[in-house]
Symmetry: C2
Subunit: 392 residues, 2 copies
């Protein structure tokens, strides 16, 4: 088990400057995070739905506490490790939003026996029967949501497949607990602007609302109607019939989200601090100690209008260097260069100077680190270290 | 600090079967690993050079002990965390093969003061002066290698730039210790067959041998002449003048190495164990709980002749399912499908069935896990759990 203690704030000591941290490391601008969280909470409040933040991006108790509506939740998780870690920190209401493996139901039942309302997800009668079997053998009715595949993106019952939906619903209602329906608009990551996002959001909404109506028409319960993706959460105009929204990456945002217009670059709260280790001046390269191990192999902007390489480079205060990207990476070497076609000039950075690199994908970059170095305000001094965990 | 204890072998108990491990998790076929290691050790022995294995791929004391010539080394590392972890386990001879950041020299001096022959790498006079300064202030002469950029791939002094090479060498020899020269044939990952690899190996050899001669002609010492990449290590025909070879990924191999003909698929010793969570039968998809978090975002085969998606799928015994790849990934969802154009058929896998996925890139996939589940022989039973570490 990881510990969740925060190192006491160390303001006033030399350790608080980004100049003195060991590099590479992960930096979290907590003011940007707070702004991102407040924006979505306010938006969903106006739409009359609950935010059930997806903690797969953060994987940190300290971040979770600043994102959830209460210390007990609600929340969404992507692994049972997350469920167990957050349960140990007091979270009591979680959806484990990946189709359940029958052999994992013992861990689920264990958490439920400790008072955690952990909800699983299924999209087949086979899985529903496994949930029923586990409910019977543990003596605890395990609640499950039925996943609907609103846009052909991944898992879930096809929206038109009412026979399958009802068969799963009946199995859960009789042997376990049918808690509701859930979907995820994977298409929304393709972008396309506000109108496209409004469309994806409506496809997402309609898929689960229709499924909920079909279940209720068959006298089955469906208290929870859950949608979720960061892009649609920021563009949905109407969430009638939806009870909650799941979203994760909005907490930190990233270049992929900026690339499809869901945030501004200045909203991105995560960066990787790296140190210059050399130059290849005739090639226009600056080399750093931040390679793909610290940024991840995610190249999510490679198919967007603006390819950001492995990330967009900022100075120590978090201001973007125009056109400077991390153009290539080895395991522990990053290559910084002006983006192709740029008429700008390379900043004058010496060996030992430091930069901050905004990531393509906050979930992937965060996963490469076990601590957030938390900075705040104009000083960008480090005010805390928050543990994060990985694994399953 | 991570612990390095091995869980005692548990043969005969139910925990030893791959059927009962929590998924996703990392599996290491130790017989394949031993075969890979023996092959390169034998090859380099015949060529009369020392193998200095790069432990950045393994990040595990237990693996390191099976790869190094002795418990004291020699070895190569990519982070000071690796240097410190391996030093704590008794390794005494390491090159930290990433250009040194001046602020990291205090940690280097600390390891040297504890009897570890840790060698740093520089490619500028600026860095050499920092190494000299740190040597003076710590009272310990820190040895450094000069990196040569044999093929324009990354860091290093250009092969023709004798003025820079000698200036760095003089600075090190006067204020620190000039240990030698080192290069890495990044080009070799492009593949091209045996003749191309022999060429890359000769470019690599010539770059450092020429640099060593230039240093010696200027009355500077150059005891160590180091080359290193897994492809060239397996194809070099002549290593005259070279004293050692660094290589890392050869321990496990991966689909990128198989794609350029450096190994066979059956040599790949690492795989990710995953469980089927669902189907989208009309699309020909099988969904698993092994997403990009467990495989990494590495898509290193995407530009090779055969694109393996996120990995090649095997059964529980490690036999490849013909044409079945992990075609797409979410964070904790993997999509398995037949490769485009295949005339094969999807294997009949039910929810709860397990597969093993061979990775594109062993370094990236390993980094997503903190333990190797070690299997051996025809039974593929788990005989040990070996800890691995990450971080800096």
């Amino acid at each position: 088990m990881h510990t969740h203690s925060i190192t006491a704030p160390t303001s006033g000591t030399p350790e608080t400057s980004l100049e003195t941290l060991e590099t590479p490391c992960l930096v979290l601008d907590v003011e940007r995070m707070e702004r991102n969280v407040a924006r979505l909470q306010n938006r969903l409040g106006q739409l009359g739905v609950t935010l059930r933040p997806h903690l797969k991006t953060a994987k940190s108790v300290e971040v979770a506490r600043r994102v959830m509506a209460s210390p007990e939740g609600p929340a969404t998780v992507s692994t049972l490790k997350e469920a167990e870690q957050f349960a140990a920190a007091g979270v009591r209401d979680m959806i484990y939003a990946v189709g359940i493996v029958p052999s994992k139901l013992a861990r689920v039942a264990g958490l439920r026996a400790r008072g955690v309302d952990l909800i699983v997800v299924v999209d087949s009668v086979e899985q529903a029967q496994a949930v029923s079997d586990a409910s019977r053998s543990s003596g605890v009715r395990i609640p499950a949501m039925i996943e609907v595949d609103c846009d052909g993106h991944r898992s879930g019952v096809a929206p038109g497949n009412q026979a399958s939906l009802l068969a799963i619903g009946k199995e859960l209602a009789s042997g376990a607990e049918l808690r509701g329906v859930l979907t995820h608009a994977g298409d929304s990551y393709r972008g396309g602007g506000a109108k496209a996002q409004e469309h994806y959001a409506e496809v997402e909404r309609k898929a689960v609302v229709d499924a909920a109506q079909a279940l209720r028409a068959a006298d089955l319960p469906c208290p929870v109607v859950s949608v979720g993706s960061t892009p649609t959460a920021h563009h949905a105009q109407n969430l009638d019939g939806v009870t909650e929204v799941r979203a994760g990456v909005f907490v930190f945002f990233d270049l992929v989200m900026a690339g499809i217009g869901i945030c501004e670059v200045d909203d991105i709260a995560l960066s990787v601090l790296a140190t210059v280790i050399g130059h290849q001046r005739e090639k226009g390269w600056i080399i750093t100690d931040g390679g793909w191990m610290s940024l991840s192999r995610d190249r999510g902007t490679s198919k967007q209008a603006v390819d950001q390489g492995y990330g967009l480079v900022c100075d120590l205060m978090g201001h973007v260097y125009p056109d400077l990207i991390m153009s290539d990476a080895n395991q522990e070497h990053g290559i910084l260069a002006l983006r192709p076609g740029s008429t700008g000039r390379l900043p004058d950075l010496a060996v030992g100077d430091r930069v901050r690199i905004l990531p393509n994908h906050a979930c992937a970059t965060g996963a490469q680190h076990d601590v957030y170095h938390v900075v705040r305000g104009p000083s960008q001094l480090v005010e805390a270290r928050w543990a994060r965990f990985g694994g399953w």
